[in-house]
Amino acid sequence: MAAYNIKIWRQNGPDSNGSMERHVVKGIDGDMSFLEMLDHLNEDLEEQGKEPVAFDHDCREGICGACSLVINGQSHGPETTTTCQLHMRSFEQANITEITVEPFRANGFPIIRDCVVDRSGFDRIIQAGGYVSVNTGNAPDANANAIAKPDADTAFDAAACIGCGACVAACKNASAMLFVSAKVSHLAHLPQGDAERHERVESMVNTMDREGFGSCTNYGECEAACPKSISTDNIATLNREFIRAKIGRIT
């Protein structure tokens, strides 16, 4: 059982000023997940009649993409995983007892309260074209078109994005390029996505800009921070798709 000095971001609301608050959290077992350590802190706070620290989380299995903390300066902490799959033994083994916890900070992710941010900009980017326009009805037989396995696999690797926003939080420009490129690349590698590929990439990139996300300068922090190891190759795909769409418009 170990004790940790936690410095955690508190902010009462979107328009309030925030600050770091210090707490000592005792009785932490290495088998506890990082969020269970925060549960423990929150139980202590509630017992003292104080309001618990708000943070987003839901599935706690590393797949829903809700959890979103910057831990000791890194999106989702020191390992390649989501915050919810990070365990306290990771700190125990490295003899780290000081932990700083902050929200994902980005222009496109305004803070709602404490460590909870508003990532609805991501939803609006998908609404701008991150889909195939097919109505529910009588689609052709699922095996009517064969898709070469390498294409299917590449599409899948891009589709594994969980939309958590770690890439944005890690980027010095707060760019959403990795997120946008993952969806563009997923659909660009499949015949189903072909008909709308030009409109899709233009519309999604325009929306990304409008939502206040920064530009990509090939820094690569996004890929390093991504819990699902989405590759920056997708950004190259996006750039290619974008140029192709622009040329397609001219000719």
Partner: protein
């Protein structure tokens, strides 16, 4: 309460087609005049909202998460069943129908299950058209694998993330409709009551979780797609936010609740490691293809697993079920694990675990082959437990996973409240007393994409295009809103000394002990006495900090736990009344000489539907008789 299942006439193969012809339609130009409220944005809710939007209805969709993409359907690993028969191994719609009815231990409605099996093929076609990246073989065609309870390969999958890919497909379709303006999405908004006048659903009362605003929404129909209630046990494989509130509030407004005691307990989950545990993680059922389950033969044998020689190990599933061995169905594997742990032969610090050992498979096939098959699961196990499953056997234990019970619905998916529809895990319809693997995704999408958008038109059409919606200024809305606000204030004003979580944990223990894997009359009676006491204590001693007009996570949790504290009692009452063992409901008094589940078809071949009669009053139990015209009732045997 009148239970008319409205099952169409005719042979089972023709019922759905005939019914679609018999139902009324809404003229395309009139569809926008109908407002449909959908609560929840998982597979069922998102697919329904997207499809209703495509058809031109005026849809409002609500979810408590920050985005519809986060609903817990996303965590489903294994796959989705369909009767495509691509492998040519003898599958058919009828066989999928039969397997599902049998897997549910003959406690589901034949006509619904047949429709589900029929629609399964359309789901795969539609999802592929959306660009869902299902697994493909080297020829570029779709791949299939096998799952429990079937002798054919009919499961379509997307690595270990089938739920994620299907949900994102539905989310993208929903996003397209949001952009088109047919669906208005309300995120971080929780439904706190359904508004009912003269047994007709008129709208909902919701709370904006960001600013605390309580507001009403009026609609022509309300659809609940709010998932299951496994979190009544505190620990489950459900997401932290999963709750029974929407379904339970509907029950209190007059919707019948069917078979609440039917709970699926999954045998292969990572065991609880301590009191701090907040949730449980599933390890895919597929591991049992190569892993061997065992515990030491001797009580209290504390040696490390590798120090225990083979003849001192009890491979109990292989011993008890020689023909199915480690691949015995979920309910049986779970109960057997509990038995050996109850005897004191469980492993790990807590004694609540059994080994799932890959030693023999690794010796036979090599570490590389095992890694290719299960690498990602082994990694996940190691991340959570810090133990290397290639070197040491995994430790697993059963955990609450899915709830087959839910609000009662007729063939049209309408509850006993007119105009209140229930889809996906939230309803009770298709899985009987036990759900087969890879069937949950199938049902959620069948309901949302293909059933509800058809059946709801029949109801809406009867109103006529010039109908008027009840304004939210109406007395019914005002009263409902006031009740919601009063309850919130009551929670904030108790100002006691115990946290919400401490009550939730205590309820979970009562439920797990008495209404878990094995249930006894005495234990259930104890729980029915203890839960109201705990509920009383909650309302006297709970401590909810903060205010109503802000983002308040304690308040959110408190409201959900308050409902679990009532709902848990209903589950126990249902389990007590059902004097038989069926699927996930095992009453220890009703077992064969060999310890297997013993159904009582003479007295319990029905769904039990509960009617609310008031707080602290005993609810009324109704029955919907189940008729089996196409499938012969048989005893499941896995020896």
């Amino acid at each position: 309460m009148k239970l008319d299942a409205k099952i169409p006439e005719g042979p089972i193969e023709e019922k759905w087609a005939n019914h679609k012809m018999a139902m009324k339609l809404v003229n395309p130009a009139n569809k926008r005049k109908y407002k449909v409220i959908i609560i929840g944005s998982g597979l069922a809710g998102a697919s329904a909202a997207a499809t209703m939007g495509e058809l031109g209805y005026n849809v409002e969709c609500f979810c408590f998460q920050d985005s519809p993409r986060r609903a817990h359907s996303i965590a489903a690993q294994g796959g989705i069943n369909a009767a495509k028969n691509y492998p040519g191994d003898g599958d058919s719609i009828y066989r999928l129908f039969y397997d599902t009815v049998k897997g549910g231990d003959f406690r589901s409605r034949e006509a619904n299950v047949y429709r589900l099996a029929y629609i399964s093929n359309q789901i795969i076609d539609h999802c592929v058209a959306q660009g869902v990246p299902f697994a493909r073989d080297y020829g570029g065609l779709l791949d299939n694998r096998s799952f429990g309870g079937a002798q054919v390969s009919r499961t379509f999958y997307a690595r270990g993330q089938t739920g994620q890919q299907l949900l994102i497909g539905a989310y993208q379709a929903l996003s397209r409709q949001i952009a088109a303006g047919t669906v208005k999405m309300h995120t971080r908004t929780e439904m706190l009551d359904v508004v009912v006048a003269d047994n007709v659903a008129k709208g909902v009362v919701v709370r904006n979780l960001v600013n605390g605003q309580v507001e009403s929404h009026s609609g022509d129909a309300v659809v609940l797609a709010t998932g299951g209630y496994g979190n009544v046990f505190y620990l489950s494989t459900n997401a932290m936010g999963c709750n029974v509130t929407a379904a339970y509030r509907a029950y209190k407004k007059g919707a019948g609740f069917a078979n609440p005691c039917y709970t699926q307990i999954h045998p292969t989950c990572i065991p609880v490691s301590g009191d701090h545990q907040s949730k449980l993680t599933l390890m895919s059922e597929s591991l049992r293809n190569d892993g061997r389950v065992w515990v030491p033969k001797e009580l209290g044998d504390k040696r490390r697993p590798e120090e225990i020689p083979d003849d001192e190990r009890d491979y109990y599933l292989e011993r008890k079920y020689p023909s199915f061995g480690n691949l015995a169905p979920r309910d049986i594997a779970s109960r057997s694990a509990k038995e050996v742990c109850d005897e004191g032969r469980g492993v790990g610090n807590t004694g609540l675990g059994v080994y799932l050992d890959f030693r023999d498979a690794i010796n036979r096939l090599g570490e590389e082959t095992i890694s290719a098959r299960y690498g990602n699961l082994f990694d996940m196990y190691e991340r959570i437990t810090a133990e290397n499953p290639y070197k040491n056997p995994m430790r697993i234990y059963p955990a609450v996973h899915y709830t087959m019970g839910g609000l009662w619905v007729d063939y049209n998916l309408m509850s006993t409240i007119q105009g209140l529809y229930v889809i996906g895990e939230a309803n009770f319809s298709d899985h009987g007393a036990n759900r087969l693997g890879a069937s949950a995704l199938m049902q959620g999408l069948a309901d949302g994409y293909f059933v509800l958008p058809q059946t709801i038109a029949d109801y809406l059409a009867t109103m006529g295009a010039s109908h008027e919606r009840l304004p939210i200024e109406d007395e019914v809305f005002v009263q409902a809103e006031e009740a919601v606000n009063n309850r919130i204030n009551r929670l904030l004003n108790v100002n006691g000394s115990r946290t919400v979580d401490s009550f939730h944990k205590e309820l979970g223990l009562i439920m797990w002990e008495n209404c878990g894997m094995s249930r006894l009359k005495k234990g259930l009676e104890t729980a029915i006495e203890e839960i109201p006491k705990l509920r009383k204590d909650f309302w006297a001693n709970v401590k909810v900090n903060g205010s109503a007009d802000n983002f308040n996570i304690s308040l959110e949790k408190a409201g959900r736990v308050a409902d679990f504290l009532e709902f848990g009692e209903l589950m126990c009452r249902d389990a007590l009344a059902r004097e038989e063992s069926a699927g996930g409901h095992f009453r220890a008094e009703h077992q064969t000489a060999e310890g297997e589940a013993l159904r009582n078809d003479d007295d319990f071949c029905h769904s039990a539907v509960w009617e609310y009669t008031g707080d602290d009053a005993v609810p009324i139990r109704h029955e919907e008789a189940l008729k089996f015209d196409n499938v012969k009732l048989a005893t499941r045997s896995y020896k």
